[in-house]
Symmetry: C2
Subunit: 397 residues, 2 copies
């Protein structure tokens, strides 16, 4: 009786694994500001919550494996607002972005095949890769230059005969980097040249600051058969608990295979699709309010980090994360210390050690990811604690 | 650019693949009685629906990867009613039984490892096995003797060095067979002797007829470290669309690995757990009413089948399916014909060809699965149509 290698080897979530330390701090009466997870504090749209309150079907039945048709039809309209021209048969509704990522990897990768992903990357990609048995080939990007996409030559250096896809997260978790249309066109050239898929996780599509505009890989006609978009309503509508996402592609063979995968798990949650549907009518004004708020938070966190000696970070352009390189040897030790040994006026802060977001061993050891998902007042306090904690931590060493 | 082998090879759902034919029949104005899927017509408990109506949190947030603690604590009480003695850390809440099955296979199987499953079996096990890359070694059981568990010698004949687990569905979908405590003790002996896991899908736990009692593999102390139960509220509370299941085991190493798998997909739906929780207080009286109804339906369908010449079936003891062996060469052709070429008073019936439930090629070609999930009046009509359709089909051949 033995567990599978995947069971023995899967990485513990670097975001969630320190939660017990935070729990102990709270048990000791210390308030913990959580900047470690991407759970927004923004209210879920009342339009969505109203659907739950008013749902009057008597049987909470299975829906179609592909997702409810009216919801997919309304997703078509949503996507058209971003010049993404798809039809309802080019969408499969998934159980959150998680399932969309997993199914995308499953559809393109055989065991031991490789998917190139710029690092640092969303750590759960490791989990899905482990499930599927594919290897992530990390493409290193750097805090010093805002995690910009490396040159095509650098990317080609890690493409080999087992490479099946390049996968990006745009806007990026955990980097906050946003790829320009020119960046995406470079990637398009590469995937055509090397006959690969391009998978893009665009769950932060709307979270772009300073008036910039998002480009989807679906906006590049030259790779219409190679582009796979992974999507989710979790961050967009602050509805992380609904577990509704989608996967979209023009590639009919791929969609047919994904449909068979989708049939195996029957369907995504039914009522949650009715609820998600209510969000699709929210227009630009909805996001304008949220963006103003997040941009202020970003500026607050970025400015606070700039004020700390020897901290390196570049102002993020999107999503709601920032990676900071700290003047410490072991950022995980610092993060733990903040929870176990430090408090300021009986409060402390929790951030994520960034090493877990890198695929290359040893990278990111002096970095943390900060999710700016609290209101400005709390964020201000949290950053004061972070700053003074860091100074005390460095002094005691 | 090529799809993965899994994407190219995954079986289309034999339950769902004929849906387009049913849709065409409906478009032509024909009423279709659906006996092809396990979507009960029983109302979801009002206690559960009330939770959606009254939910007043402002943010639909992520829950814990393991599932909400109060829900797991109440699951402990639910399981204790079946003499299943577990604690809340021996439960992981999953996105329906589907995810529980998938994660169980993922935890015990490496690519090309084997899991023995009595056939015919729930067809989506094929899908999860394909995802994971494990092989299902089918253990053939037969309609003629009520799909009874084969002898230990027959089972040992297919155990080899790659075998990692035996997986059962008890009560069985699609067979309606229920394994006795003695059957399970035989399996326990085998998994101990050959150092395997025993996985039991017990989502139909309450659906046992004729006053018999269900035995869980969790009731066998000799395999407490080897037993993995896959569970779901979908059928139990007619809440298929909620997508809430669970996986339970006393094996701490296994649970630790499953927890890391669970973290990768963040969490099961949040509000659905609040809703599911409301069902856990439903007592025996709730199931008594449902069981009386299902037992009547079972008798109706079984008796109707008995009246048809040359149809072979054994009265099912549990779940809400029956497999019937028909006097036809190709049951799938008959099922299609019912949808495309036959109607009685402008009505027809849809059942599932059973071949897709077998792992051994060629088996089950003359069998269908009937889900008795409609009220008795509709079921009566549907079985009349089935009977007269079968007679006309045979006569025309």
């Amino acid at each position: 009786m033995q567990l599978s290698n995947r069971a023995l080897n899967i990485q513990a979530s670097p975001i969630r694994k320190l939660v017990p330390l935070a729990d102990s701090a709270k048990a000791a009466g210390i308030h913990v500001y959580h900047l470690n997870i991407g759970q927004p504090d923004i209210e879920t749209p009342p339009e969505m919550m109203k659907v739950y309150a008013q749902f009057d079907q008597k049987i909470l039945a299975y829906g179609p494996s592909q997702g409810l048709e009216f919801y997919r039809r309304n997703l078509v309209k949503y996507y058209s607002r971003y010049a993404i021209d798809i039809n309802e048969n080019e969408i499969i509704v998934t159980t959150a972005g998680s399932e969309a990522c997993f199914l995308a990897m499953l559809a393109v990768g055989n065991p031991d095949d490789e998917i190139i992903i710029p690092e640092p990357y969303y750590t759960n990609y490791n989990g899905f890769a482990t499930w599927v048995g594919v290897k992530i080939a990390p493409l290193t990007t750097k805090a010093e230059n805002g995690f910009a996409l490396p040159s095509n030559q650098e990317i080609e250096n890690i493409i080999n005969s087992r490479t099946r896809a390049i996968m990006i997260c745009n806007p990026g978790n955990p980097t906050g980097a946003v790829y320009s249309k020119a960046d995406l066109q470079r990637l398009a050239e590469l995937v055509i040249k090397h006959d690969l898929f391009l998978i893009s996780d665009e769950v932060y599509r709307e979270f772009i600051y300073d008036g910039e505009v998002h480009t989807s890989i679906m906006n590049l006609p030259e790779i219409s058969d190679r582009a796979i978009v992974v999507d989710s309503i979790s961050k967009r509508y602050s509805a992380c608990g609904a577990r509704i996402g989608s996967i979209i592609s023009h590639n009919t063979e791929l969609m047919a295979a994904l449909m068979k995968f989708a049939q195996a798990r029957l369907c995504p949650p039914t009522l949650e699709q009715y609820a998600a549907n209510a969000c699709l009518s929210l227009q630009k004004e909805y996001f304008d309010v949220i963006l103003t708020e997040y941009q202020a938070r970003r500026d607050l966190v970025y400015n606070a980090l700039q004020e700390i000696d020897d901290v390196i970070c570049v102002k993020p352009k999107g999503a709601f994360y920032i990676i900071a390189k700290l003047p410490v040897d072991d950022a995980e030790d610092f993060v733990k210390w903040l929870l176990t040994d430090y408090s300021l006026n009986n409060e402390t802060v929790m951030v994520s050690p960034a090493a877990g977001f890198y695929g290359t061993p040893g990278l990111g050891k002096d970095e943390v990811r900060i999710a700016y998902i609290l209101n400005s007042r709390d964020l201000q306090k949290a950053m004061q604690i972070f700053k003074s904690g860091l100074q005390e931590y460095i002094n005691k060493k």
